[in-house]
Symmetry: C2
Subunit: 332 residues, 2 copies
């Protein structure tokens, strides 16, 4: 199997690539267990943090550059489409968001259609497709009413992925991802960036500003579970999808305050005291348009799981990103 991951040099792309390389195989219905022969990470950003492996090649380029996308798509059997302009950036630059998140997705789907081989595609969508009046937990059949350009662009990407699949051009599956927490690295321009920062920075001994109120509820999933979900979505037989190619994923609902309480419990009050609460109305407004929970019945039936508790997410972060230990403390 030849794998293409767009946004492959991003945080989730690298984790997904590493998981695929570790496993060495993927299971595809009709073809059984297949080895990963080649893996192309396509990204707008270079840098050597991606898995160094002879099967892996990093190609830098623009997802709207048709020629470049056609070249990386030409041989791909399995495609994870993660490349995107994130939420606050897409809100700040309307044209850039549409260019990358809509035109880029269409360019990729057209390139895959052009192969004539009906590649399998997993599209990373988002709970940002929801907005407006919502129940506490959105059901699988609840309508998306996006309140950010990012959400609208992801909803359009889902529709394109589904229609290209229905026409037999690709075998596509879209996952609506909860906010991913805890992301490692630097804060980014996602409005949800705070949800990782308020854990990550204090653990690294740094002060951090939380731009949303303590009661702000969010719906989250850990990097581990997201990676598992991306792998599962690709390996589910096509028959599991039927006419609906879009799946809201399970997550857990928590609040900024509950996350910080867990941080204090696990890492100590001094660590949690590194957070300053200083609401930013622009961020608060975007975050409040997102759903705070979902039923995700169909996803659970298909074997997708959440993290159970925020403590589990926090401990997984410490294990995966901090080597399992906390500075100045015994192992948690």
């Amino acid at each position: 199997m030849r794998v293409l991951i767009t946004g492959g040099n991003g945080f989730i792309g690298r984790r997904l690539a590493a998981a695929l390389l570790r496993s060495g195989t993927v299971t595809v219905d009709g073809a059984g267990r297949q080895p990963i022969e080649r893996m192309t990470l396509f990204d707008s950003v270079g840098g050597a943090g991606y898995p160094q492996d002879e099967r892996v090649e990093l190609v830098t380029g623009d997802i709207t550059d048709r020629g470049a996308v056609e070249r990386v798509a030409a041989q791909a059997d399995l495609v994870w489409h993660l490349a995107a302009v994130v939420s606050a950036a897409a809100e700040a630059d309307f044209d850039l968001g549409y260019r990358v998140n809509v035109d880029g997705t269409r360019t990729l789907l057209e390139a895959l259609r052009g192969t004539g081989r009906r590649p399998r595609v997993v599209f990373a969508s988002s709970f940002a497709v929801y907005g407006g009046d919502m129940p506490p937990a959105v059901g699988d059949e609840f309508h998306p009413v996006p309140q950010s350009s990012y959400g609208a662009q992801k909803a359009i990407g889902e529709l394109l992925t589904a229609d290209y699949s229905r026409k037999g051009f690709v075998d596509g599956r879209s996952l609506r991802l909860p906010t991913i927490v805890v992301r490692p690295g630097k804060p980014n321009k996602a409005a949800s960036s705070f949800a990782s920062s308020i854990i990550r920075e204090p653990l690294a001994g740094q002060e951090v500003v939380c731009p949303v109120g303590q009661d702000t509820a969010i719906y989250i999933l850990s990097p581990r579970r997201v990676t598992e979900a991306l792998l599962r979505a690709m390996q589910l037989p096509e028959s599991a999808w039927g006419v609906n190619r879009t799946l809201p994923l399970p997550g857990i609902t928590t609040t900024a305050a509950a996350m910080v309480e867990a941080l204090a419990r696990v890492a100590g009050a001094a660590v949690a005291d590194r957070i300053r609460w200083q609401p930013d109305p622009a961020i608060q407004r975007i975050v409040e348009t997102w759903p705070v929970g979902a039923e995700a019945r169909r996803a659970r039936m298909l074997g997708f799981t959440d993290d159970g508790t925020f403590d589990a997410i926090l401990l997984a972060h410490i294990e995966d990103e901090l080597g399992g230990t906390l500075p100045g403390r015994a192992q948690p």
Copy 2:
């Protein structure tokens, strides 16, 4: 007020234009009752069947031709965007459907954004956005899972209209229209074309083939009610829309058999006998993916209405298109 109607030389466009010219004014919140000063009908098709009036100008052009669209959009205050490739045509020519129904809508919205005057836009969407597993009557919050490219393209158009509105580029409103029955004129490439043909052609003394089974249920609205709805959607104050710019309209649920029974009742058994039942699996398949009913609670609260009965639709057709009389019969 300067009016632009895309698809303005089509059947609904002409009816809408005629209704606007008859009224002579539109009511716009903040500005009260305003005269119609100019009206541009933009259409890919020429022909003189549109209302002849000194306020009206027909401009033929392609909705994806940015220059042409910018020219007709430059002065527009009120825009009805009706131009579209219809369902069976969009299914037969994937690229044409995306070019006109998606790229064309975006070209128009970009041109309107470019005016900097925030024009008001009514976008004609469709119940074809729904598909897959559905309840007998879809609720206002039921998710669209399109099972045709036309439906996917209309759903994308709704998302674009809503996002351009949220960003303050236009003041947009999308109406999900039921199947419009009875359309005058010739059969077209809409999969729903039969629903008008089985009434129109027998009344004109012609034999007609019905390509769907007698039990096939459809959700319909008359040209009169659609025209009223397009006018109402434009004249509702912006506050009536809130964060959700998309509205499924009320209609009535009927079946092919019930329509033909009504035809026999009103026009006589000999007229109804002009229908031959000869199912076309391709048409049947598309039609069966559409919802057969909707709750449309929000639309009813906002004053949108259905026709009540199919007899009312039939009698309105005879009145509007056949001068109120049936060949060889007394007035119905």
